[in-house]
Amino acid sequence: MIYDISVPALLIFIVFVGFVLGLSFYFARKTRSASSYYAAGGQIHWAINGIAFAGDYLSAASFLGICGMIATVGFDGFLYSIGFLAGWIVALFLIAEPLKRLGKYTFTDALNATFKSRAITLTAAVSTLIVSIFYLIPQMVGAGDLVTPLLGLPHWAGVVLVGLVVIVIVASAGMTSTTYVQFIKGSLLIILSTVLTVYILKHGFTLHPDNENRTYHQFLTLSPEVTGGKVTNVENWKVVSQQEVKGKNFVKLEKDGVPRWFSLSEKDSVYTLKEALSIAEGNGVILYNGEPKSNQKFFPVGHLDKIVIDGQEMESSGPVGPARFLSVLGKSELVRFSEAKFTDEGKKVTVYYQNVTAGSDFMLPGLKYKIGKGASAWSRLDFISLMLALFLGTAALPHILIRYYTVKSQRDARKSTILAIAAIGTFYILTMFMGLGAAVNGVLDVESSNMAAPLLAKAFGVFLFSVISAVAFATILGTVAGLIIASSGAIAHDLIDNYLGWKQDDKKKVRAGKISAFVVGIFAICLGIAFKGMNVSFLVGWAFSIAASANLPAILFLLFWKKTTSQGIATSIVTGIVVSLAIILTSPTMWDRYGLDPANALHKLDNPAIISFPLAVLMVWIVSLMTQKTKPAAAIN
């Protein structure tokens, strides 16, 4: 989309980031030993830790991705909210208590202490690294999306900026700073989401979502003359060409030398042309809706086609309560914008066309994950797979488990977790309102769904937008910092120290951690640029799938089955990583990323957990049974 640089937003943004960095440096002075670098020396209060937990978890994916997905596909986005929160139940009820009882901080440490196996040290460290990197991708993609409207910078510049700032934070301070940063960020995120939701409800629904600074574009509807399915004449317009893409017809019309694309639809033998948005790319020139970017003709979208209140069609609703908001939307009709790609006169054209959707469909699962009538077995499987990964993935995320151990006692750790569940639960319910609010208030950027919530805030005023953008940016900073610490820990402590056995003094350990942080940070920047344009919640779903498959069977068997052997664990971790990665890399979504036709992908599954998790469980069980002899033998010796 086309954005103007917002000076107040920029100022607040700079002040906020400066504050976060200042805090980091302040706590850096207090950080001396390796133990305080990684786990804050066990000195964090449980309430601070709980909100910091929420700050960790409510990453760019939650704030930007879920709101964006709800805004574009409705209830299917909310599935992520449900699943992400349910995942905490596994973490709290199954993992937290027993793992803490072992007196260990990460599942790698717990595994190592129990088995003292080099194979486990290696596989667990690799798994931590891969999961962290997959979780880093969406954060970086979100960062790039965020700075585009904020600073007027291109996507890649945002990714590089976040990467560099976080590397500075991690290399200078470590965990102590990030816990407090996460605390501030977690609190602000929940407060601001509440404010935004109040605005949405107060604003209610309207057919003309004009915002403070501009009127909403009135999309044209034309009546063409059609012969044999081909548009032959349109009053006041010159018919240029017509294209059929997957059963949908697109017509290029021209007026005053400016070409525009329209989608053709037919109802009861009456044809209608509806204005679409387009990007045409060729000969080194990109035209937005037929004109250069600077003409600002590439409009924000998302509006209601019909507002139905108590059976009556209305122009607007006035303020509504939360339940009424959801029920009115369920009975109204809204216009989503779907994407189609084709070639026209040697140019690559992407058309975003109007797709009128019944509110009743929007408020049900099925627009992204088809599970209703006529859904294929693959898409049903994909839905189950997603829900499984979200449920089981949380407990297996390396950066979540680390924060669990930064409080003094078991009781405090539990209280932290419950406070976190309450905070996160509240936030996830709010995502529903923010996402739906963005869907109908004419603020969406068709090129990226991730900016739905901040752009909605912009509609309600620049101040709210600037504060929310700053918090979202800090959200990303904090999460990326936590992940880079987890990854550098896996490299510096688990791989270099434990696996390779290079004994170093405290100072060198910290230095190794910082160098690793730098390398992982640079790698994350590259991936963030490569995955531009994808919904970040969807990307997080992948991180959860890998974590659930690689780590969770190992943790559960270690904690709950006495016959588990080191070979079983190592095989399970390898199976989980390899199978989930293989399925992801050959998925339709990745096929699209490679520039191939997704329909020709090796399979139709976008979420791997339904296959990779049971396989990993099977492997730890079978291999453990097969290697039972080694355990008693070792005990006898």
Binding site: I82, I89, Q410
Partner: protein
């Protein structure tokens, strides 16, 4: 990863009981969570039925799962603290 010393927990007699409670609560939640997924896959139309205040089952069930998670968490914390108080105090008496 390198850390400071493990938290000093002492002997925790409630540990086994807390773990068992955790497993029970996990299965209770799993039942309701899986229920949502199963309805979605096997009887999708049921999700569109209005159940409360003009809201369909999908919305009510979805938000319900979030609220239920928080509730279970609070109950779990309460029971665990009770176990710790009673079992660990008994240990100290003799």
């Amino acid at each position: 990863m390198h850390h400071g010393p493990a938290a000093e927990l002492g002997v925790d007699n409630a540990s086994a009981k807390k773990s068992r409670l955790g497993v029970w609560f996990f299965f209770v939640y799993l039942f309701f969570y899986a229920g949502f997924v199963v309805i979605g896959v096997l009887n999708y139309e049921l999700l569109s039925h209005e159940v409360w205040g003009g809201l369909n089952l999908a919305i009510v069930y979805g938000i319900g799962l979030i609220v239920f998670a928080v509730l279970l968490g609070v109950i779990y914390n309460y029971l665990c603290s009770q176990y710790e108080d009673s079992l660990n105090r008994e240990e100290q008496k003799p």
